[in-house]
Symmetry: C2
Subunit: 231 residues, 2 copies
DNA sequence: CGCGGCTTTGATGTTCATCAAGTAAAGTGG
DNA sequence: CCACTTTACTTGATGAACATCAAAGCCGCG
């Protein structure tokens, strides 16, 4: 049976640097057979907490959020993954089921590789195993660091932080559309929707940013930086 | 803190279930050669942020804290590791240097295995690799979960939580000595020293706990549980 | 003894969540 | 396409939760 009618050649895919750079030719060919690509529309749920973990996922394009769903829409966002990031986090090797959920913040393409196949690769290719561990490890560090940082900051500092996050890390541009609702921003940096709005308004009257409809423009990068660090 | 002379036989060590259960006889013998045990006194620093990572560490006995050191003693405690826990977290596979610190909360014995040797094992023994990944993965999940949980709780809930943590998970006993100073408790659950004390006092007047010198006694487990969940 | 660190309690002020209410935007059904 | 509903956004007022500041008691240690 042919799984892949989209006749990709993973060995040419720029995304193999995510983890697959250490595979030999044969392994690379197998990989293509165990791989599928899926597209998700903005807002679609990709993984639901409790789902069985059958695949190793990474993001090819778009933007997704990893989150824990709580009661009455009180979700908590764990992290935001951009292309080249793992989506599956580390947890896929610990449990049979996901203990968090994933959904698309923008139209996204997810590459999905059969998990038993990946485990097999880990068993048989030591370099690959170490590479994966190192990548996941770094992912982990970033999330922990983010969580600890949050705790030290006041609300203004947190807002400044995510504005710079989107500007510098995601869009690499001073003008962009925040792919999160105000509520989602609140869930990401642990505060209330009202305060997100309030502080964005403050920043606007202080001429640190401009907001035109959906568009956000960073006006004073340096001051925001300073607020993010010391505010 | 004397280095012992490694006369141990790791194949008999109950701690091999931490990760080494999949090693064959030869690998087990090598392991003993690459392993050292070190003892640390309560309060001693085991690893300092920035130290080169040369070994894979796990805790044989005692209790340690992993923390990020901040300015003027404003540390943040990432997690508390008990015997059978990894000490090195996942980060040892991502970076050449530690980006957190570790110190002993009680007199502790740490087992230390040469990291290149471990990496070698990962490369050559697929079962071992998967096992390690799964264990570290679970570790990661626990820490993330803890961090997210903190965010949802008020101060009283957090205090109730760590009281139960020590009672149920660490000492498995309703009467124990908290191995942390009030300040350290504050660092662990992100609040001020004064409020830790204040709330402990409240709990005492509410007959939820008793405090005799260093000793803490849990009086009303159920009520604490309820505060931890809904407070 | 006296010094410094840890602990405790109280008083004060700030930050932030909650509540309320109103506007804008976006989807829904006739 | 328009009325209708719902969802997102916004602003202000209020009070609660919490940090900060201050001061005093306690304890171990040189």
């Amino acid at each position: 049976m042919e799984l892949n009618l989209n006749k990709c050649d993973c060995s040419l895919c720029e995304f193999k640097t995510i983890a697959f750079e250490d595979l030999n030719t044969n392994e690379m060919i197998s990989l293509c057979g165990y791989k599928t690509e899926k597209n998700y529309k903005k807002g679609e749920v990709i993984v639901c907490k409790g789902d069985e973990i059958t695949d190793f996922l990474y993001l090819k394009s778009g933007l997704v959020k990893l989150y824990k769903a709580g009661k009455d829409g009180k979700d908590q966002i764990i992290s935001i993954a951009k292309p080249f990031d793992f989506v599956s986090l580390v947890s896929i090797f610990s449990d049979a089921n996901y203990n968090f959920s994933i959904s698309a913040l923008e139209d996204s393409t997810v590459c999905s590789v059969d998990l038993p196949f990946i485990k097999n690769l880990i068993s048989s290719n030591g370099k690959f195993a170490l590479n994966i561990m190192s990548k996941m490890s770094r992912n982990f560090d970033k999330i922990i660091d983010g969580a600890l940082n949050l705790q030290t900051k006041h609300l203004r500092g947190r807002i400044a932080h995510i504005l710079l996050f989107f500007s510098n890390e995601i869009y690499k541009c001073g003008e962009f559309e925040i792919p999160l609702s105000r509520k989602e921003i609140a869930q990401l940096i642990d505060m209330t929707t009202e305060n997100v709005i309030r502080i964005l308004s403050e920043f606007r009257t202080d001429k640190l940013i401009e907001i035109h409809g959906k568009n956000t423009v960073i006006l004073d990068d340096k001051k925001l930086q300073s607020i993010a660090e010391h505010g």
